[in-house]
Subunit: 102 residues, 2 copies
DNA sequence: AAAACATATCAATAAAATTTGATTTGAGGT
DNA sequence: ACCTCAAATCAAATTTTATTGATATGTTTT
C-alpha cells in the first residue's frame, strides 16, 4: 500500500527536476505537442515522453489526444491542488504545542 | 553555474521524499529538536540529520541552536516563497499564445 | 494494406539520492 | 583537562531516477 506521504511526494517529484521545470515554462505560453516541446530543448523523444508521463501523473499537466499528436497543457485544478497541498504540509496546525527538550 | 531551474528544483526536492513530509508533519505542531523528531520515526540519527539539512537548505525549515541541541521549525517566509514559486511555475503567462501543430 | 509519422514503452546503462554505521565536531558537566 | 551527549559529516552500499537507443503502438496518407 502507498502511504499518504508517498502520494503527496509524487506531486513534488514532478517539480523537482530541472528539465521538467523547463517543460512547464514552455507550457505556460499555451498547449504544446511533444514535437513542439522537443524543438528547442536538447532532449530525445523518449526522454521527453518519460518526463511528460511524470508531469501528467502528478496532475499538474493534462494531455489531449488529437490524431497522432498528443497535446499537453497546464492543469488549473492540478495547480490549485498542488498549492493547497503545499500550504497544508507547511503551515503550523492549531493544536496545542508539545514542548521539546524541557 | 547553477541554472534557475536547478535552483527552483531544490525547493521541491525538499518536498519530494516521504520521510521529509513525515518530518514536516511533526514540525507543524511546533519547534522540535532532532532527538524529539527521531523518537517516533524509525530513522537513524545520521539519516535524520541528512534530511534536516535538505529541508533547511530549501528554506522551508529554519533551525536554532541552543546549547548542544538544534531546534527545527517551519519557516513562514520559506512557505510563502515556495507557494509563490509553485504558482509562478504552473500559471499560464499573459503573452500571446504560439500555436502548435498547425 | 503498406508506408510514414508521432508518441509510448522497454531494456540497459548512467547518474543521483538515500541509507547505514563509523567518525568528528562542538557544547556542557565534573 | 576529561567525559558525555547532541548533532553533523564522511564513506560505502543500496535504491531510485534519468538517459539513451531500440522497438512497439496507433494514426494518417498513399
Amino acid at each position: 500500500m502507498e502511504s499518504s506521504y508517498e502520494r503527496d511526494a509524487k506531486v513534488f517529484k514532478a517539480l523537482c527536476d530541472p528539465r521538467r521545470l523547463a517543460i512547464l515554462e514552455r507550457l505556460r505560453s499555451g498547449e504544446k505537442c511533444v514535437c513542439m516541446l522537443q524543438e528547442d530543448m536538447d532532449i530525445g523523444q523518449s526522454g521527453l515522453s518519460y518526463h511528460m508521463k511524470i508531469l501528467c501523473d502528478s496532475g499538474i499537466v493534462e494531455s489531449r489526444q488529437e490524431g497522432k499528436w498528443t497535446h499537453y497543457r497546464l492543469s488549473e485544478t492540478g495547480r490549485e491542488s498542488a498549492v493547497a497541498l503545499l500550504r497544508q504540509l507547511t503551515t503550523p496546525d492549531t493544536s496545542p504545542k508539545s514542548g521539546c527538550c524541557g
